[in-house]
């Protein structure tokens, strides 16, 4: 990075940020228990943001452009890119703002519990769990992809920030298949900061259970209005509405009108008040801002506007950096009691969508379950859920049971009354 800084200075660039991220990965791809392909990757990305200050009609502006210094670039290629980026920044007429305050710290090691293992060893440990879950002759794991990544990130800027950290991640996806009485499949993703093999095994086994239920599902739910239970990743997606709308990138341009202290849940109608916290497995944001746990919503009221330096500066608030994980306080109703209400439990969607702009959520049901009064469970498939969080947010009831992955920690399920369902 030193040679880039030297060229930046030679070209008169006084304000800059450089982020270098080197990632090595081991990847394994399986089809019906057999190896499709092993892959290794070793990629580095060097991102340089070049800033340029200028004044017009007495107003201060700070333009910026982002370039990537590709591996194998000659000194002259780098110089030309920087020169061109610095020139382009003079057309980016954005109001002036300052970079985040200087942060310096020693290299922070990854905290993953498998950081001493090689990437291939970790990939093989995940594969061993995958291959150990046999299922049955008619319900099994169809295919899976495993990605073990180890990154080293360094962020430095012209204000003196110089931080670096290591990061490990385990993630992947698998498809379960059941061939009787009908031939169907279910898709699942997994994502962990540690080598959480027990959670993975449970997820694989539940994937096989769910696909067996889908194979028995004959009909779509009856069209009309239903109470709907969302679980797992869809709960997290629902909360994206609150995370996005409270970001300075949404509030500064006026897409969101939320202000600190606003009762953003509005009139309550039997639901639970939200307590939401932002947290991160990364120690620093993309701008080098230290990331600490921050309360976003307390008792349904907005407690924080979050985001990077530029929009924070425009709004006159502290820059917090951008977060990737939310924590929601556990709810009040057990998952079992939710199901006993006769609500339609949406186990999986084709693709659940949460529109943070208009509050609309929707998805086609791959598998839904309805618990009958006699305790039996009817599996359903097809049809769709189509609701508005703006209309429903005063009626949300969350489960006492919780789950967690790399982006969410909180209630396993949410009960949403009176949602439009398309079906038979």
């Amino acid at each position: 990075m030193d040679h880039i800084i030297e060229i930046l200075k030679q070209e008169g660039v006084e304000v800059y940020r450089i982020t270098r991220s080197g990632t090595r990965a081991a990847e394994l791809y399986f089809i019906k228990g057999q190896l499709d392909m092993p892959r290794l990757t070793d990629m580095t990305e060097t991102r340089v943001e070049v800033f340029r200050d200028f004044e017009e009609e007495g107003k201060r502006f700070r333009g910026s452009t982002v370039i990537f210094i590709e591996p194998g670039s000659s000194q002259e290629e780098i110089r030309e890119k920087i020169r061109s980026a610095y020139y382009a920044a003079s057309f980016v007429k954005n109001p002036w703002y300052d970079l985040p305050e200087k942060t310096t710290a020693p290299f922070r090691e990854s905290e993953a519990d498998y950081r001493e293992m090689s990437l291939t060893e970790a990939a093989e440990a995940v594969a061993d769990v995958l291959l150990s879950v046999k299922g049955t002759e008619t319900a099994f794991i169809n295919s899976a992809e495993i990605f073990i990544r180890r990154s080293l990130v360094r962020i430095l800027d012209s204000r003196g920030t110089d931080v670096s950290y290591g990061r490990d991640s385990v993630w992947g996806e698998f498809v379960t298949q059941c061939t009787e009485p009908s031939d169907v499949e279910q898709y699942r993703q997994f994502s962990y900061g540690d080598l959480d093999l027990a959670s993975l095994k449970e997820k694989l086994e539940s994937g096989i259970r769910d696909v067996s239920l889908r194979a028995r599902a004959q009909a779509a739910p009856a069209a009309g209005r239903h109470s709907v239970i969302l679980t797992g990743e869809e709960v997290r997606q629902l909360l994206d509405f609150y995370v996005t709308r409270s970001s300075s990138a949404f509030i500064y341009p006026g897409y969101s009108t939320w202000k600190l202290g606003d009762d953003i849940q509005g009139t309550m109608d039997g639901g639970e008040r939200l307590d939401l916290t932002l947290t991160s497995a990364r120690p620093y944001s993309e701008e080098g801002i230290p990331l600490k746990d921050r309360t976003l919503i307390r008792d349904g009221r907005l407690a924080l506007i979050h985001g990077g330096a530029r929009f924070a500066s425009y709004l006159g608030i502290e820059p917090t950096g951008s977060y990737e994980k939310v924590v929601l306080k556990a709810g009040t109703m057990s998952y079992a009691d939710m199901k006993k209400t006769g609500a339609l439990e949406a186990v999986s969607f084709s693709d659940f969508q949460m529109d943070e702009m208009d509050g609309h959520f929707a998805g086609e049901l791959r598998l839904a379950l309805r618990e009958e009064k006699d305790g039996s469970v009817t599996p359903l498939t097809g049809g769709s859920v189509n609701g508005s969080l703006l209309e429903s947010q005063g009626r949300l009831i969350f489960s006492t049971e919780t789950f967690r992955d790399s982006t969410y920690e909180g209630p396993l399920a949410v009960l949403i009354p009176d949602v439009a369902v398309a079906g038979n």
Binding site: P71, V92, E124, A220, D358, G383, S384, A420, A422, G423
Partner: protein, 473 residues
Amino acid sequence: MEVQSSQYLTRLRPVLRELLDALKARYPYASILATDAAMKNYSVSRSGIRIQENTTFGKRGFTARVYSGGGYMEYSGDSLTGDQIPEILDRFEKSLSRMAERYDRVPTPAASEEKLCFAKSTSYKTDPRDLGDRAIVERLVSIREEGLKADESLLECSVRYNYQILHKIFLSADRDLEQNIMFGDGAVFSMARKGEAVKNGYDSISLLGGAELLDSLPACAERALEHVRASLAARPLTPGVYDCVCTPTVTGMIVHEAFGHGVEMDMFVKDRALARSCIGQQVASGLVTMKDGAATSYEDVATFFFDDEGNLATDTVIIDRGILVSGISDAVSAARLGTKPTGNGRRESVGHKVYTRMTNTFFTAGTSRPEDIIASVQDGLLLDCPTSGMEDPKNWGIQCMVSYGKEIRDGKLTGRVFGPIVLTGYVPDLLKSISMVSDTVEHCGSGACGKGWKEWVKVSDGGPYIRARIRLG
């Protein structure tokens, strides 16, 4: 003008050859794909102006692939010098081979390639690099200002333009291929407030070419305004089965999401696609012919000369007058299935695995005029402004979403609008219900396509106006 070769790849070629020769000496098959790319995004909005390079769909780097022990292994890196070759060989021989030997392999015949050698480039009218950042930003700012003037109630009229220049070299024992491609896309997002909700209208354009695309962006702003006005007027729809007329963009989403993913033949290998058992059968109305290919007549952002496994781009007929006649495939899947690859092996970027991916995918034109299709509907909806879709190759379930549908009564638009709307149902039911197909076809490649929830590649899709029966919610 034709896109010129990458100077970087030209410099690197001897080192790539050296690595290939070293791999060929050790393995029965070896190939190398090397890429160089330049992609720049421009946007103007209430948030400000943004100029940013982007590496999502392409970056500098290489992937080396070898055949060993009954299957393939790959190593991807971003820098390559002669000094690094021993280390790369070591990673194949130790880490990758060790992982491969630990498991049973999916039976895979080795690739057999005919000799092929060429260098080809696409053409453009205006090189965005020559036009310059200043002129591009000024055009976008002007389009945005005009867009906002058109309706003072608009909260936003953001405008973006992206271009990408992709250079690729593919080397193997029998192939030495080079391609240089430039494409671009642009879009306008208009937004307006409706209480707490913010409704938006979106319109986009794409082309195989350069900054001449900017000339078409003002028309996008006009259409985006129409879309946001419709979304503002939309009221909830009573779920049910409706007679629908789909605009070309909605047809394109149905083509791509509902059916296209189901004929990707890596899904055949996994037993994940119902289409495998339906080759030769009627899956759609006799009015429907569907094609895919990077060498189709509808040149767009997914046009290329060879795919990421060094196979020639094709023009594949998938549905011929209602009969499913072919899938599309990458080379490894084709080898496993005993078929010919169709040039659909694509990587998100050089660091990613190859999958079977669509390219330019569309229904061909029919014979009806769009206005006659609308006039034929007694009670139904004109569906417009697609927002998202998700495939279900195994069970051919549909999930597509549109912002709104305009009510049609007695062959005329009533002015009433419903939305947002989810399209569901069984794909062949929808395709067999197609009763009219327009004589005009539109296509667009402004977005990206994922394989499931990842592996994004540029694609285009489209088709004619169609009339069909669809379950809506």
